[in-house]
Assembly symmetry: C2
């Protein structure tokens, strides 16, 4: 591709909006679609072109990228009746699809198979780094697929992320993201239990974090979410309900591989309790509330 | 104290040796005792003076510091028949005792009470930072006791640590160290489960750590112990059996406070399995072996 490929983008949430914004700034021509058109307004003002259906993107774009919510959404936008692959006829320009949603490795494999039948390459490329990483282009992008597709996508990825790694064939990006979520899930139990212990022992949580955050007990979670817990700030950086989705995918994959992961299973159960207590749309640090509730006299 | 206080030191393990070495270099006069005299040889050559019993230190030193193994050892060296407080008669120079062992908060309170009866101040001051932190003087020192004792001890602490915080009254240092260990314990489950998942998914563990170690899943443990696990290196940085001791103290304290900590309880059980599999003297990263064994066909 001598000139910049035309990019179709599906899903304008918090992450998607910032990522599209960066690609427009980098000079790419964007066509976008998302469930609620209003969410695309600011991007349309910047020159992005609206598409009514994912299928239309396949007929007009070289690359389609998705960043949607759940695996069922990924399935719908690629494999549904109005989906991208339904529009990928023999004369369509589409050469590459990239799903950046955190989704299932098995579905990533299925997309690669279905795309391959239409001579379209496929990558799974979930990210970590949150809204700030999306805005600043400092995401970690974990990629699965073949290396020629990875090479084609790299110029685009370079505008979005800082740490960009091809982890293996189709699904390997999603598997890597699952490792990421397993690490966070179990660590979050420890962060909440540690701070609850500190609270009960009448320690000053901020000062405790100063003592423990810089050494072997240190983690992104204790140093970034710990202070929010100390202030009672449960505003979402990452929604509880999305985290539960991710843990569900990881546990299903682990079951498929016949792998017992007792820590992850416990984390999933504790987050079910967080949701049961009304915190589906709180940030993941709300696990402290669930553990405190667990240890509070019932009325 | 216009001139430097004379320091009595109990316990010349990996940590104690480096810490005494630093204090000798700083110009302090040291008297030392430890279970196995041979372990003190290099320090005696540098001018430290041997003492046969902890009680003798009370009769000759202004400050006594201990860094031993288990709470029962702490109890013996301070409260036993040959212990420090047995030597702390009215004419003894002893003004301050500092236990730097990771030990029980309740015992720290008891030591403070018993020392107080003899007009001796007491601090609990466990550390994190390991053998390297001890050698380089970059430990985190978590202190419990009264502020005048903390002021007296600060010139000494400044030679040993970088992050030095008074966390509250007697026992608050130990409580803070328990928070530190709770954070590590639960996170280690996640690190092992994440890497085992990666292994089963046929990912390259080193490359996975590159993708996940710098973001929200990042922690000291994944970035420092993960690569050792990837290489099959289970040499001890911190012994499994000492970690089990620490988790036992934390669980006992939590029970005393009527606090359920399910993640810590699970970590303790998994580390019991690590020990059952013959890894009491391996490093804490051996939890990967236990989880792999758990998921391996039985013969």
């Amino acid at each position: 591709m001598a000139s910049l490929p035309r990019i179709g983008w599906i899903g304008i949430g918090v992450m998607g909006r910032s990522m599209v914004d960066r690609l427009i700034s980098a000079g790419y021509e964007l066509r976008i679609t998302t469930r609620t058109r209003d969410k695309a307004a600011s991007l349309l003002r910047r020159g992005a072109v609206w598409a009514d259906r994912p299928a239309d993107l396949a007929a007009t774009c070289d690359v389609v990228i998705s960043m949607v919510g759940y695996p069922r959404d990924v399935e719908a936008v690629y494999l549904g009746a109005d989906g991208v692959l339904a529009g990928a006829g023999p004369d369509a320009p589409l050469k590459l699809i990239i799903d950046m949603t955190t989704s299932s490795p098995a579905l990533a494999q299925q997309l690669a198979d279905e795309a391959g039948k239409r001579n379209v390459k496929s990558l799974d490329a979930p990210v970590s780094g949150g809204d700030i990483g999306a805005r600043d282009g400092t995401l970690s992008i974990m990629v699965g697929g073949d290396s020629s597709a990875f090479e084609d996508a790299s110029p685009i990825f370079n505008h979005l992320g800082k740490t960009i790694r091809l982890q293996g064939g189709p699904g390997a990006g999603q598997h890597t993201k699952m490792v990421n979520q397993i690490l966070i899930a179990t660590n979050m139990i420890g962060v909440a239990e540690g701070l609850l212990y500190a609270e009960r022992a009448n320690l000053d949580i901020t000062r405790v974090i100063e003592s423990v955050g810089g050494g072997a007990a240190g983690s992104w979670s204790i140093n970034n979410l710990g202070p929010r817990m100390a202030k009672g700030d449960y505003a979402p950086g990452f929604y509880v309900e999305h985290f539960i989705k991710d843990m569900g995918i990881a546990l299903a994959e682990a079951e498929r591989m016949q792998l017992a992961l007792p820590g992850l299973a416990l984390a999933r159960q504790l987050y079910e309790a967080v949701r049961a207590q009304g915190h589906a749309r709180s940030g993941t640090q709300a696990i402290l509330l669930a553990l405190r509730h667990l240890n509070t006299a019932a009325s």
